[in-house]
């Protein structure tokens, strides 16, 4: 993705787009808050419980993965492990080639974006179709999703209607119902023609080997019902210990993501076709993806792996609302992305080391996170790592001098007296941060030392 500092990207964004993103995010956030607080007396307690279950799973991930693998195999599922994006893509291609499969339909899954699966398969002659409406539009536009849950939050219906016209899906009409119907008509044929259906998973229960898919449009049911083969690509952090804990997560996920009590479809997928399960696919594969996750697991940033990809932290984030998802130059935008993307970048960490700085550390994200991830703490930790590894400081002023001053009380007092000079300094010769401050804001009059002398004088009087 194009390298452009986040603040510059945000400044160039059109007012129309900025407003779409802000209003869309705020509406989602308000609905989330209302529904959660209507339904639960202590939302924070539930978030903490969910966070603890996830953290527990992560800390015993090796044994839960083994358990899940065993259960899945017992249900006739072929289980693969992919160390990185390349291995995962190759794994999918191998399965397709072994079946002579040429056409694939897929549901929405961020992991496929992360490993850039579709461009890879298309290069190898596989025809792929996104079937989630938002992702389908992204695919038509050769764009990228800008939000984890709402991939086209940055687009309005006029833009979409123009795309449909250009791609031969009918004359210009921006009525939402018409757009949706046209996509459905187009995709219906694709489901029937497809050789393979590909999905991710929101959860995998280690106890039962069940895959859980949380969706709204019904497209995933078509994806998984029509084709004879189902491939699921799943991040290893999607495991939960047992079916019972799903009750905690399913109660939180849809409410946090969209303010729904439950998504329209919650699918429990129990394996390949067998005598006991005549409805399953002929062949089913689960590819567990690592792609940097076990490395993160061994660090002080491991809490980020609890993430359910609900998008609540994006919706509430004031920086995301101004900048929009593409500003983050990575698959995972917003607060969670500012932590996860540089970590998953591995050796290219420094290229994304500016993301953790794109935050006022206001903590709104941590307040809404359904698995209680201390995102601001992780952001500060990553800033420290960036500094240690020599990340370019960008526009962030160095605080070394200030800190030195702040550990020398005599110099500090002297500086309090000298600050007045700034009031008389032409702006052009002021230090950079002061000039940057005064681009759009006034600076109050310097009153350095005034409190100290007041306090001293009244001490003498007493």
């Amino acid at each position: 993705m194009k390298r452009e500092p986040i603040d510059q990207f945000a400044a160039k964004q059109s007012d129309e787009r900025r407003t779409s993103v802000r209003l869309g995010s705020n509406a989602c956030h308000e609905k989330r808050t209302q529904v959660l607080h209507e339904d639960y007396a202590d939302v924070d307690l539930l978030r903490k419980l969910a966070g603890q279950i996830k953290q527990h799973t992560l800390e015993h991930l090796d044994s839960y993965l083994e358990k899940a693998e065993e259960k899945l195999r017992a249900r006739g599922v072929k289980v693969h492990f992919a160390l990185d994006a390349e291995a995962a893509c190759q794994s999918v291609l191998d399965i397709l080639q072994a079946r002579g499969a040429k056409r694939l339909v897929k549901t929405k899954t961020m992991v496929s974006e992360e490993i850039e699966l579709l461009p890879f398969l298309e290069r190898h002659g596989v025809e792929c179709f996104e079937t989630d409406l938002g992702e389908f539009i992204v695919q038509l536009d050769a764009d990228r999703p800008s939000h984890i849950v709402k991939p086209i939050l940055h687009k309005n219906r006029r833009e979409i209607a123009r795309t449909f016209q250009q791609k031969g899906l009918g004359t210009y009409d921006d009525t939402p119902e018409v757009i949706t119907r046209r996509a459905r008509e187009f995709l219906r044929r694709k489901y029937l023609e497809a050789d393979v259906g590909l999905s991710g998973a929101n959860f995998v229960s280690a106890e039962s080997g069940r895959l859980v898919l949380v969706t709204n449009e019904g497209n995933s049911r078509f994806c998984l019902a029509a084709p004879r083969c189902h491939i699921a690509v799943v991040g290893i952090e999607k495991l939960v210990p047992d079916d019972r804990s799903l009750s905690v997560f399913l109660n939180l996920l849809a409410r946090s993501a969209t303010g729904q009590r439950l998504s329209v479809y919650t699918e429990f997928i129990c394996g390949a076709r067998s005598a006991d399960a005549p409805d399953g696919p002929e062949e089913m594969h689960v590819i567990f993806l690592d792609n940097g996750r076990t490395e993160v697991l061994g660090t002080e940033y491991r809490e980020i792996l609890r993430c359910l990809r609900c998008g609540a932290c994006l919706n509430v984030c004031p920086v995301y609302r101004q900048a929009s998802g593409h500003a983050y130059r990575s698959v995972y935008p917003g607060p969670v992305g500012a932590v996860l993307s540089p970590l998953l970048a591995g050796k290219r960490f420094l290229e994304l080391a500016d993301l953790p700085k794109a935050s006022t550390l206001c903590g709104a994200c941590a307040e809404v996170c359904p698995v209680d991830i201390p995102i601001p703490d992780l952001l500060v930790r990553l800033r420290n790592r960036g500094k240690q590894e020599g990340a370019p400081s960008g526009a962030t002023p160095s605080l070394g001098g200030f800190a030195k001053l702040a550990s020398m009380p005599i110099a500090w007092k002297a500086a309090l007296g000298m600050g007045k000079l700034v009031d008389h300094m032409p702006r052009a010769v002021q230090p950079g941060p002061l000039r940057a401050w005064q681009g759009e804001r006034d600076l109050p009059a310097w009153r350095g030392g005034a409190f100290r002398s007041w306090f001293r004088k009244r001490g003498k009087k007493a």
Partner: protein, 240 residues
């Protein structure tokens, strides 16, 4: 602890803090060697520099007395940020000891001293901007409790109240465009509620909002909660 912002710009807020505490019967000391809570360097990722500042603070504020601060942000730095900063350092115990004694002013009044109402009058419509670093602390409720106990004060709600003002320390200069857009939006929401005054427990937010409002030529009266409490006291003394 007076905070670097009050030390440099907002002496009246530090004065009001002293007067409010003395009204409650506290003896206030001001260690002259104090400087800063270390947050600017901590947030910028310059942890060795931040530790130097914090070690100085531990030295300056040695003892058992509560350290009362007219800022939820500096208080959160001492009670939370500093714990992360020193988690692998040999002197983490001293940092923790300081952290447990650090109080934001109104939290100290309400939860620390158990005072839940304030004498006097403050006439006008007040919009309370909850500073972000008071999230998860007692400050939000404490300010609200004290302000609502004043006679003549009308508490007004405004839209998107949980949103940040866009200051964020160095963020305000490193991400100037996003920061001013956030601040302008906050001003829009605040001013739409037609308050007579905007109150916060942190001068950093008010520095940002005031700076923007002045540049944009929008009238804005902003006070620290300590100033409101001090002014209410003055009114009760006049009334007696």
């Amino acid at each position: 602890m007076s905070t670097c912002l009050c030390d440099a710009f907002f002496d009246d807020v530090a004065r009001a803090t002293v007067e409010v505490l003395e009204h409650l019967g506290c003896t206030v000391e001001f260690p002259e060697r104090q400087t800063c809570c270390g947050q600017p360097a901590f947030n910028a990722g310059d942890w060795p520099a931040a530790r130097t500042v914090l070690r100085h603070a531990v030295d300056v504020f040695a003892g058992e007395a509560p350290v009362v601060i007219p800022s939820a942000s500096c208080a959160a730095m001492l009670s939370h940020g500093a714990q992360i900063l020193f988690e692998n350092e040999p002197d983490v115990v001293a940092i923790k000891q300081l952290g447990t004694r650090a109080w934001e002013l109104t939290d100290f009044i309400v939860r620390g001293l158990g005072v839940t109402s304030w004498p006097g009058r403050f006439t006008g419509r007040v919009a309370f901007h909850r500073s972000c670093h008071s999230r998860g602390s007692g400050t939000g409720d404490a300010v609200s409790t004290l302000l609502r106990s004043l006679s003549g004060l009308e508490f007004v709600d405004f839209d998107e109240a949980e949103q940040c003002c866009g200051f964020g320390g160095t963020f305000s200069v490193a991400f100037a465009s996003i920061s001013t857009a956030m601040g302008t939006l906050k001003l829009d929401n605040l001013l739409a509620a037609k308050p007579d005054v905007i109150v916060s427990a942190d001068m950093s937010c008010l520095l940002h909002l005031r700076g923007l409002a002045e540049r944009q030529g929008r009238p804005l009266r902003a006070l620290h909660v300590a100033q409101v409490l001090r002014d209410a006291l003055a009114s009760s003394e006049v009334g007696r």
